[in-house]
């Protein structure tokens, strides 16, 4: 066990944890904004898969990770428009619509992958490390802070950006209002459906980005069900984070670091044999514990999952 506490291993584990936190963080930030506007999207996982496949396939075909990234974002945005149409325009029940989006994303990406690509073919991802020059002379702390890829920095910079969007802009005020009391917003001339649609598109674009990051930054390849449940954990993180960007980030980091710690402890043979499968459940168990602990749901938008109509 003491082996784990060497500075080198701790640094490597934390660095891995930060890297693993990024897809959770992006998807959860987007979902938090969508939920603040009163729309639950259980389809995050499916949108992540679609974003991931779009980014992968575009990169494979064009050899350009930048185009891949753009396609991941556009795919997320497109799914957002579809989900906005289903839930905001047609007032469909949000829980079941989200599950539909998830199943669609899972099946559709698998189908396209098999028909268009077949075998997993490696791609060159987007692994530019803009701060790496700082990491060289600053030792372990420098490695921890400056050795990451550009998408990691983008993800963490989006935390204050989303915080600012929600708390300091007119759009954010409208988002909070339509998530709490859409009728009040309506009587002040705010377009409830317009604000909700925009929040959904934003949330789905972030989910698409999260999928693209998995492909371009971590895996550099594609495989069926690549996201492996990260979209659902991201939704749990929104509750964990009480719909606030900073707390969502704390949750994402916690999950990333728990996952990387389990891997490191296995490699060090600290946990092995049958304990392994139990340790692998740690993120899932953590999710359940977290949801039980935060079940008070303080801060849940009052109009979450409720479609808006004037006659209600």
């Amino acid at each position: 066990m003491s082996e784990f506490f060497t500075v080198a291993i701790l640094t490597a584990t934390l660095t891995s944890g930060i890297r693993q936190a990024v897809p959770y963080l992006l998807a959860a930030l987007g979902e938090a904004v969508s939920q603040r506007a009163g729309v639950l999207n259980l389809g995050v996982e499916g949108v992540m898969l679609i974003g991931a496949f779009s980014a992968y396939y575009a990169t494979l075909e064009t050899k350009s990770a930048a185009i891949g990234l753009l396609m991941g974002l556009l795919a997320g945005m497109f799914m957002g428009l579809i989900y906005a149409f289903i839930t905001v325009v047609m007032h469909a029940e949000q829980g079941i619509s989200g599950i539909g989006i998830y199943l669609f994303g899972l099946g559709f990406t698998d189908l396209l992958f098999q028909k268009q690509v077949g075998t997993p073919r490696p791609i060159q991802g987007l692994k530019t490390k803009p701060m790496n020059w700082l990491a060289e002379d600053t030792g372990r702390v420098g490695e921890l802070l400056f050795s990451h890829t550009i998408l990691t920095y983008v993800a963490f910079l989006l935390v204050p950006a989303v915080y600012w969007l929600v708390t300091r802009t007119t759009f954010g005020l409208n988002v909070r209002a339509v998530g709490e009391n859409p009728h009040a917003a309506d009587t002040l001339g705010v377009s409830v459906n317009g604000v909700r649609a925009a929040a959904i598109v934003f949330g789905n674009t972030m989910a698409g980005l999260a999928g693209a990051v998995l492909v371009l930054d971590i895996v550099q390849n594609f495989q069926q069900n690549l996201t492996a449940g990260r979209g659902f954990i991201a939704i749990a993180l929104v509750y964990f984070g009480a719909w606030r960007p900073l707390r969502v980030m704390a949750g994402a980091l916690l999950f990333g670091i728990v996952s990387s710690t389990v891997l490191t402890l296995q490699a060090l043979d600290v946990i092995s044999g049958s304990v392994t499968s139990i340790a692998n459940m740690a993120p899932a168990v953590l999710t359940v514990i977290v949801l039980v602990v935060v079940s008070r749901r303080i801060g849940q938008p009052a109009a979450l999952t409720k479609p808006f109509t004037r006659d209600a």
Binding site: T13, P23, E93, T119, P120, I218, T264
Partner: protein, 334 residues
């Protein structure tokens, strides 16, 4: 009640889109040749695409070879049935059409097969990887000793590592993957007891990102050779390639995943046992036996990456190990 209508419409639209894309793709899998007379007809039902360079392609290649050598006369293939119910329907369909041998290539297909086989006593079924024939007279099963190839990979890997640290990435600690991992560890230890084989199970067959992070973790702990089993290893091969760390594959020739770093892969060759089964069916024995692939029958093969400059004596030791596993002078401990 607005929702289902809208969603169906959406699905239909996207379905059309998907079909359009599929139409322009390399759609070369479904084919059949018809012959008259008392031809021997084989059908294959498999979970992923025929060109997946992995599990499904290995069985498709095998029946194509039998067809080319006129061992069998007609082949039909249904691929992409990752939904078990769809596979069951396909298996029943082929049995009703009077195929002589129906291959259910997926251990998840045991359930439907157990229900279907008794309804078609004249048809022979073969499925794998599995060792269970359900006591039915018209069911064969097949399995593979993946620990054997794992052992050979381990022997080679132990000679290439400079740090004496080798990282292994498995999905879940069961079945084919566990067999491979254990064989690999035994081979590496036998070659060089000083080698530290670090094993990580990610807990998932599909979590590619977790496999990638496991590879990172191994590398940061000093590993300079990696191996792994199951479909999620594509995440790990990318990381290995990026860091210039060697890779050993299994289940299929994984050279395309990393031209510079893949040393060798354990490959399954189903044609031997399939030919065996076909001969028995022709002789009127429709089932009741389990075929297990080993080096001896040619069911397992180690394929080396020709682009990788492997020292001659190391390659020689691999062949010696295979010979020893065949004649029994070496055992994997399984």
């Amino acid at each position: 009640m607005k929702y289902p209508r809208v969603f169906n419409l959406l699905l239909a639209l996207l379905g059309v889109f998907a079909l359009a894309i599929a139409g322009c793709g390399n759609d070369d899998d479904d084919s059949s040749t018809t012959q008259t007379g008392t031809s021997f007809r084989v059908a294959v039902v498999a979970p992923s695409a025929s060109n997946d360079l992995a599990f499904t392609q290995s069985i498709v290649d095998a029946v194509r070879k039998l067809e080319a050598s006129n061992h069998i006369d007609e082949v039909s293939i249904t691929d992409g049935t990752f939904v078990v119910e769809d596979a069951g329907a396909a298996i029943r369909g082929y049995a009703e059409e009077g195929y002589d041998l129906v291959v259910a290539h997926g251990s998840q297909y045991g359930g439907p097969l157990q229900e279907i086989a008794p309804d078609f006593p004249e048809t022979s079924f073969i499925w794998g990887t599995a060792v269970d024939t359900f006591g039915l007279p018209n069911v064969y099963s097949y399995s593979v000793r993946s620990d054997l190839g794992g052992y050979v990979n381990g022997v080679v890997a132990a000679q290439l590592t400079e740090s004496n640290i080798i990282g292994v990435i498995g999905p879940v600690e069961v079945g084919d993957a566990k067999l491979y991992v254990d064989g690999f560890e035994a081979g590496a230890q036998a070659q060089n007891p000083d080698v530290d084989v670090k094993i990580v199970y990610t807990g998932s067959f599909s979590d590619v990102a977790a496999a990638a992070e496991a590879a990172q973790s191994h590398i940061s702990l000093g590993a300079d050779v990696l191996t792994g089993s199951a479909q999620m290893v594509v995440g790990a091969t990318g990381v290995a390639q990026e860091n210039g760390v060697l890779w050993f594959g299994t289940q299929a020739n994984q050279t395309p995943l990393g031209e510079d770093i893949v040393v060798a892969s354990q490959v399954y060759r189903w044609e031997g046992i399939l030919a065996d089964a076909v001969d028995r069916v022709k002789a009127g024995e429709l089932g009741g036996e389990t075929f297990i692939m080993t080096f001896a029958g040619g069911g397992i093969d180690i394929q080396f990456n020709d682009n990788f400059d492997l020292p001659q004596e190391v390659r020689g030791s691999a062949q010696a190990t295979i010979d020893g596993l065949i004649d029994g002078s070496i055992t994997t401990g399984q």
